[in-house]
């Protein structure tokens, strides 16, 4: 991955040692203050997840002992275990299918010439510039009235599979795969499907990983669309379940913070482990193909 190596490597520049001391101290002070402000909400979220409500109200800044009680409140207010299961199921299905569809299409656009190639790519690219709001009402009517899929995983997953960004990203990635490599496999008698699946896909594995993380996260955190097509408590995803609680007046904030912590902390850990992939994915979306 070109992008990720660029990000980790710092550009060597001529330095003047004595002049740099004061700006360096200032820079670190400023960034430390910023880092404190940026981490504070996450830290408080984790503290509150373990505090009783009166602990939160009286200004707790350290961990309490009510984690289990808060989870029980959360589970009682909304079927949170079920919401977790739904979120995992939907995110896994969505990520897998989306990776498959966008990589196949990206492969077709990069490695073949065919009638209508520029036409289709142009149309797909043009929709990048259209706000998703424009399609949301017909999509909803399709789901609710035509297909009657409300409250199913498919209702949440299907519209998001028309993922323009993914096509764009995969197309860019496949450009780094040499045609000679593919032709060698063809000469050995491999079918076009095998050329794609066994030769081209493994080469772009880092790009697939980066895209997978972004797709998973976007599905995991999506709120508006699941809110529209899920109206049964047992079908809720985590964001929808949390959203219903936040709007209520008499709620357990400890429970809500436990819910936000459960939906966030695994990804903070993942972020530390897979920072390169996440950063490469975000940055990769912006690089011209």
């Amino acid at each position: 991955m070109g992008i990720q190596s660029k990000i980790t490597a710092s550009t060597p520049r001529p330095r003047q040692r004595t002049q740099n001391v004061l700006p360096a101290v200032g820079l670190h002070l400023l960034l430390t203050l910023g880092a404190f402000l940026f981490l504070a909400p996450l830290y408080l979220m984790m503290v509150y997840a373990t505090q009783p409500d009166n602990g939160i109200y009286s200004g707790a800044v350290w961990f309490g002992t009510e984690a289990v009680q808060n989870f029980q409140n959360l589970q009682a207010d909304t079927n949170f275990l079920r919401a977790m299961l739904n979120s995992v199921g939907i995110a896994v299905l969505y990520t897998t299918i989306s990776l498959l569809l966008t990589s196949m299409a990206g492969f077709a656009f990069t490695k073949y010439d065919f009638a209508g190639k520029n036409f289709w790519f142009g149309i797909i690219l043009a929709t990048l510039a259209i706000p998703a709001f424009v399609t949301i009402i017909p999509q909803y009517i399709l789901m609710a009235s035509n297909f009657k899929l409300t409250n199913t995983y498919w209702a949440v997953i299907l519209p998001g599979l028309a993922n323009t960004m993914g096509i764009f990203y995969m197309r860019q990635s496949f450009q780094s795969v040499h045609n000679d490599l593919l032709n060698a496999a063809r000469i050995d008698g491999a079918s076009e499907w095998r050329v794609y699946w066994q030769i081209a896909l493994p080469v772009v594995r880092p790009a697939l990983a980066a895209l997978a993380i972004l797709l998973f996260l976007s599905s995991w955190n999506d709120y508006l669309w699941p809110l529209l097509v899920l109206n049964n408590k047992d079908a809720y995803t985590i964001p929808v379940a949390l959203g219903t609680l936040v709007g209520l007046n008499r709620v357990s904030w400890g429970g809500i913070m436990m819910g936000t912590a459960i939906s966030t902390v695994p990804f903070l850990i993942l972020f530390v482990a897979a920072q390169r992939h996440i950063v490469a994915g975000v940055a990769g979306g912006s690089v011209k193909g």
Binding site: S10, P12, A105, T127, V134, I137, L142, A162, L242
Partner: protein, 285 residues
């Protein structure tokens, strides 16, 4: 026969995606355009401008539009300036412990909108929020954050800035690092100061990534929904109602699908105009 097979192979790879794309993107795009020109008082399609004339006379739409544009004009530039500063700082070779700072500023990008909306609603709560407790601790009076127009809007802008600054900084960092070091070495040899180098070299060369983050942020702002819906419920009054929450209200609370489609296309037209202006101003190449 062989030629035919070769011509169909790419369509085999493309077809599954294309079917989804046509059904869930292309068709809804056209459908909502037609719906916006449909007279909803009659059964079946009847061409009419009623939705559009209603849009241009609707005070609630203009309130939502005003609030959305306010965020676009205030929050987006501040956030992008912060992102740029952060990208430059994180790229500086004076900086130690880069891993820690990256974690601190990039961590919010894995947090979902619902989750951070809940957190911000709680920490900005008037009676027991951490922010007011902090202010009181410093001897300052509490602010009624969520029940007054300007403070409520401020909280939403702060929340968005918290969530997206790091994300935009990553994109700018990628742009920054694609600038070759030779350019800087040449500038250093010519005796250019750091300040001059930044304004005359770094900034112009970063134009593509700045433009990209600007377009992304503008589109994100146009579609803003979760934060005003969950942090302030659009209130107090309609002070934080955005085009997004208004569209939700018209489409999925009042079920005015035709009118909601008109609002949605209003967003698209606005997005096109703003993008066009941005391209004119910044994207000359």
């Amino acid at each position: 026969m062989l030629r035919l097979r070769q011509n169909l192979t790419p369509y085999g790879f493309l077809l599954p995606y294309l079917l989804i794309f046509l059904l869930f993107w292309a068709y809804p795009l056209i459908r909502s355009l037609l719906d916006s020109f449909d007279d909803s008082r009659t059964l079946g399609f009847a061409f009419s401008f009623t939705n559009w004339t209603r849009l241009f006379a609707d005070p609630f739409f203009f309130t939502a539009l005003k609030n959305t544009l306010l965020i676009m004009v205030v929050q987006v530039p501040v956030m992008l300036a912060l992102s740029l500063g952060l990208a430059v700082a994180l790229n500086s070779d004076m900086l130690k412990a880069k891993g820690f700072y990256r974690f601190a500023f990039f961590a919010p990008l894995v947090v979902g909108t619902t989750a951070y909306s809940a957190i911000f609603r709680l920490i900005f709560s008037t009676q027991y929020g951490a922010v007011n407790q902090g202010l009181n601790g410093l001897g300052l009076p509490s602010v009624d954050w969520l029940n007054q127009a300007t403070p409520a809007m401020t909280v939403i802008m702060l929340a968005m800035t918290w969530r997206w600054t790091g994300y935009n900084a990553i994109i700018m960092l990628a742009g920054l690092q694609s600038i070759g070091s030779e350019v800087y070495e040449a500038a250093a040899i010519d005796g250019a100061s750091k300040w001059t180098t930044f304004w005359k070299i770094t900034l112009p060369l970063m134009r593509p990534s700045i433009l990209f983050t600007l377009v992304l942020s503008v589109f994100g702002t146009l579609q803003l929904f979760t934060e005003p819906a969950l942090i302030t419920a659009g209130g107090p009054g309609n002070a934080t109602m955005t085009i997004g929450t208004y569209l939700y209200q018209q489409g999925f609370r009042s079920f005015n699908f035709g009118y909601a489609s008109t609002i949605a296309y209003g967003v698209a037209i606005l997005g096109a105009i703003v993008s066009w202006i941005q391209l004119k101003l910044l994207g000359r190449d």
